[in-house]
């Protein structure tokens, strides 16, 4: 839905420059939401909510990639000329964005069951590329002048989920309390 709004504004002739933040942020939000249920389920057990969340995790992740691709499309439309895009490639704020997109492209491209079966244990390893993608995307935002505080929205939940995962792995669980 937010993608449709962004596209609609784009078609309506909005400045592509204005749509960077919206598309990029949605990608970050969805990436964060996709990264949370795994570690949380290790700590809280498979509660109904987490089971549902895990079920839609793949959709969240793939949609995060689609938003990143939309973000790139907006960038290309904004820049207009290929030489201008190449000219910027060496700027840290720009190449971190490209690298984040490629890091996200790989897990997104293998997000279907057959790839999962074919790649076996390597599949899980490749899915972990979402973490460097997320980190690079955050650096990309910060270099483009984002307030550091606004990145905490992504950093805090992910770190908290990992802290809980660490607790769970050291033997401390919060199992469902049955009434």
């Amino acid at each position: 839905m937010p993608a449709l709004l962004v596209m609609d504004e784009l078609v309506a002739g909005a400045l592509p420059m204005k749509l960077y933040a919206a598309s990029g942020e949605w990608s970050m939000r969805l990436m964060t939401l996709a990264l949370l249920p795994g570690p949380l389920a290790e700590f809280f057990g498979r509660t109904p909510l987490l089971r549902l969340w895990l079920k839609i995790r793949r959709n969240l992740g793939v949609t995060a990639f689609l938003y990143a691709a939309l973000h790139l499309l907006i960038y290309v439309l904004d820049m207009g000329q290929l030489h201008a895009i190449f000219d910027e490639l060496t700027l840290p704020a720009i190449w971190t964005g490209w690298l984040a997109l490629f890091a996200l492209l790989i897990p997104a491209a293998i997000s279907f069951d057959a790839a999962m079966r074919a790649l076996q244990w390597r599949w899980q390893l490749l899915q972990y590329l979402v973490y460097p993608a997320c980190l690079l995307a955050l650096i990309h935002c910060l270099l483009l002048g984002w307030n550091a505080a606004s990145t905490l929205v992504y950093i805090i939940p992910i770190s908290a989920a990992w802290a809980l995962r660490a607790l769970a792995r050291s033997g401390i669980h919060l199992r469902r309390v049955r009434s």
Binding site: A21, G24, T47, W146, S150, V177
Partner: protein
């Protein structure tokens, strides 16, 4: 069960925070200008940009500065801050990197 309710509430709050958190662009440049009625009109700024041979994408007021998004002759995407009283070019960014700063300007 109480714990689970608290957990769900926490998740809802976190999800809400994810959605409403705004992205702050670099709006922390301070030009040190006076009251707005003393500012020069934006039209004059347009001329300044034209003299720089920029293709203006957008002009706006940012804090106590005039801000211009533009493309240079060589196609670089830039963001420039001007003093609204004097229309002096104070600082120019290219993709978050400072590429120009007026001598003595520290805002």
């Amino acid at each position: 069960m109480i714990r689970r309710h608290a957990f769900v509430r926490l998740l809802t709050a976190a999800a809400l925070a994810l959605v409403v958190a705004p992205a702050y662009a670099d709006g922390d440049i301070q030009c040190g200008s006076g009251p707005q009625q003393d500012w020069q009109p934006m039209k004059a700024l347009q001329k300044k940009a034209w003299l720089e041979r920029w293709e203006v994408v957008e002009m706006k007021i940012e804090g106590d500065c005039y801000e211009v998004y533009a493309r240079t002759e060589s196609g670089q995407s830039i963001e420039a801050f001007f003093h609204p009283d004097t229309l002096e070019k104070l600082v120019v960014f290219r993709r978050g990197q400072e590429i120009y700063r007026a001598e003595g300007f520290e805002g």
